[in-house]
């Protein structure tokens, strides 16, 4: 369909072949009709191929929907029907302008042809613009294909904690409990605001303070250890209390980052938090206290025994070694830094300290929390074995976003994503992606047609390219007519 050079026809203009009119009628055709018919047959065969091409993806869709309807009825809520409907209307309108462009070309209405082609082009670009908005939102929120489906928001737009905890900004602390199908708390160090804590009677009664410490080092720079206990020699310096001043949070609290409210602390755990006599120390290291730093914690050498109180599960040595990241990684040592890699139990403990002033704390700051009263709802544990100081550390404690009760209910009503929900998005991206590539190709075709139309190259006896491109465009529209209800309009 490349425009033939005009020279041969100029030379052969009246060679007895009967070629008159458009210089684009090629020499080897009998006449304009012959050339048009050949092109039309070609484009129809191409369109038949396109149907078969897309049918593979439709088979994948149908098969997977047949087997896993629950995935479709859950995952389609992540798609915005309005966006899909707008794009459907845009494509239908562009099909109309494309069909009208053919008519204008057939009748030699050059200005109308240009207007129709420009309109089609504009619609194609609009379609791609809407697609860009949709795709970028999904990429940003990790609503992706296959195993990469790890959404940062629910389909209702409520923030979620992802499996990889790599969402932008500060997200809420919801993880799904696979068995109870209810939202449960996330990891203490990473997240841990429990909505229950805002109910009266469950609030922990704690004193939280921030102490600057110095880790003693010898001349060679090695950390000094106590000869008897083997613990690091730590010298506390200045200490100041942290007020319990974090304002009650809601998802859309604009003042959440108001520096005047920070630093502050609030209890962040299930009702098991802050049993009498327990100490929870949250430690900051340099450069990490600004929101967004990565969480880790520091333990005392009795960490092994106390593991259960950290995240509510017993930690075997093997597991412990896996998470050791800092210095002295063979033995559990004082102030060893661990990265919490797997905490999913709901009965976790912790105090959240927020540094909303965004100021970085020096390397050696320990935040200590001493909690006095147990929550009323919880049976008092045996205190005799709870006398060891437990030092937890946390490089950064992000201001957390708890779910409001209403949000929690909404999430519960919706339930957790079914297994393999990502497969919906695999199919979604494959189908809409392939379709989008076709639209993109259409954009180039219509730019080319527009240029030729402006040059006045299309005449009533030569308009094949407009007709064929319009047919291609109608097939693209046709496929979207099916994609829209299949992907966006699942009941």
């Amino acid at each position: 369909m490349t425009p033939p050079s005009e020279q041969p026809h100029a030379a052969h203009g009246d060679d007895g072949h009967g070629h008159t009119g458009s210089p684009f009628i090629q020499h080897h055709y009998d006449d304009a009709q012959h050339q048009f018919d050949a092109g039309k047959l070609g484009i129809w065969i191409f369109l038949a191929q396109e149907v078969l091409f897309f049918s593979a993806l439709f088979v994948a869709y149908i098969l997977y929907r047949f087997h896993h309807p629950e995935i479709y009825s859950y995952a389609h809520k992540y798609l915005d029907v309005n966006m899909g409907a707008i794009n459907t209307a845009v494509l239908i309108f562009s099909s109309l302008t494309a069909a009208w462009a053919v008519r204008a070309a057939q009748l030699g209405q050059r200005k109308l042809l240009i207007a129709c082609l420009a309109g089609t082009l504009l619609c194609a670009l609009t379609f791609l613009g809407v697609k860009y908005v949709e795709y970028s939102h999904k990429i940003h929120e990790h609503i992706l294909f296959g195993a990469r489906f790890d959404p940062c928001v629910s389909s209702g737009g409520i923030p979620l904690l992802t499996k990889n905890n790599e969402c932008p900004g500060h997200k809420s602390s919801i993880l799904w409990d696979a068995e109870s199908a209810k939202p449960v708390q996330g990891c203490f160090a990473d997240v841990g605001v429990d909505t229950d804590l805002r109910k009266p009677g469950v609030q922990a009664d704690c004193e939280v303070s921030e102490t600057t410490i110095e880790i003693k080092k010898d001349a060679a720079g090695n950390i000094e250890k106590d000869k008897k206990t083997g613990k690091w020699v730590i010298e506390p310096k200045a200490s100041k209390p942290i007020p319990k001043a974090c304002p009650p949070l809601s998802l859309h609290d604009e003042h959440r980052h108001d520096a005047s409210n920070y630093p502050c602390w609030r209890a962040a755990a299930q009702p098991a938090v802050c049993r009498p006599g327990w100490f929870y120390t949250l430690r900051c290291t340099a450069g990490s206290c600004a929101p967004g730093g990565k969480a880790s914690f520091v333990t005392s050498d009795s960490f092994k025994d106390r593991a259960e109180c950290i995240d509510g599960r017993s930690t075997k040595d093997k597991e412990l070694k896996n998470v050791v990241k800092g210095e002295e990684d063979k033995k559990v040592s004082p102030l060893t830094t661990y990265e919490i890699s797997d905490c999913t139990r709901s009965d976790q403990v912790g105090i959240i300290v927020e540094y909303g002033d965004h100021e970085e704390r020096p390397e050696e700051v320990i935040v200590t929390a001493t909690c006095k009263a147990p929550p009323k709802a919880v049976a008092t544990p045996n205190l005799s074995d709870l006398d060891t100081e437990l030092v937890l550390g946390k490089k950064a404690i992000d201001p957390q976003t708890p779910v409001t009760t209403h949000d929690a209910h909404e999430l519960e009503a919706m339930g957790p994503p079914p297994d393999n929900t990502g497969m919906f998005f695999t199919i979604y991206f494959a189908m809409t992606g392939l379709h989008g590539i076709h639209v993109l190709f259409g954009v180039f075709v219509f730019i080319w047609l527009l240029i030729r139309a402006i040059k006045g190259q299309f005449t009533p006896d030569y308009f094949g390219p407009v007709d064929f491109a319009a047919l291609y465009w109608h097939i693209v529209d046709l496929i979207w007519i099916f994609l829209f209800p299949l992907l966006y309009l699942i009941h």
Binding site: L41, F66, S95, R103, I475, F482, H491
Partner: protein
């Protein structure tokens, strides 16, 4: 331009009238609205799906017949296109007939590894 009627009858191919084009476009937009609204009414999942697909088929037919001129085009072009649709239908049909043989789990997960192709799942020790 003055000779548009002439082209309608003797041109290289059929010229769609403005009435047909605008009518088709309008009908397509209306049907889009209808299909969106129909989703909001609960007829039961299967009937909702059937309604949506029926509307999509009507829309597709309108596009093919009028925008793509197949109604006025050579029969052979219809034969080509319908053959492709039949081939796609065979593709879907035969795959669905076979689908009972597939494993439920298509993505491997440590908690639920796919079953061994033959024999029972080994008991974990």
């Amino acid at each position: 331009m003055a000779s548009s009627e002439h082209h309608d009858e003797h041109g290289i191919s059929h010229v769609a009238s403005v009435k047909v084009l605008v009518g088709t476009g309008g009908a397509l937009l209306m049907l889009t609205l209808v299909t969106v609204l129909a989703t909001r009414v609960d007829f039961g999942a299967n009937i909702n799906l059937a309604v949506a697909m029926a509307i999509a088929v009507v829309k597709a037919t309108l596009v093919i017949l009028f925008f793509m001129h197949l109604k006025y085009d050579k029969l052979f072009h219809s034969v080509i296109f319908v053959s492709a649709l039949l081939a796609a239908a065979l593709f879907v049909g035969f795959t669905l007939m076979d689908s009972g043989q597939y494993q439920e789990t298509n993505i491997w997960h440590p908690d639920s590894p796919p079953l061994a192709p033959f024999g029972p799942r080994p008991t974990s020790g």
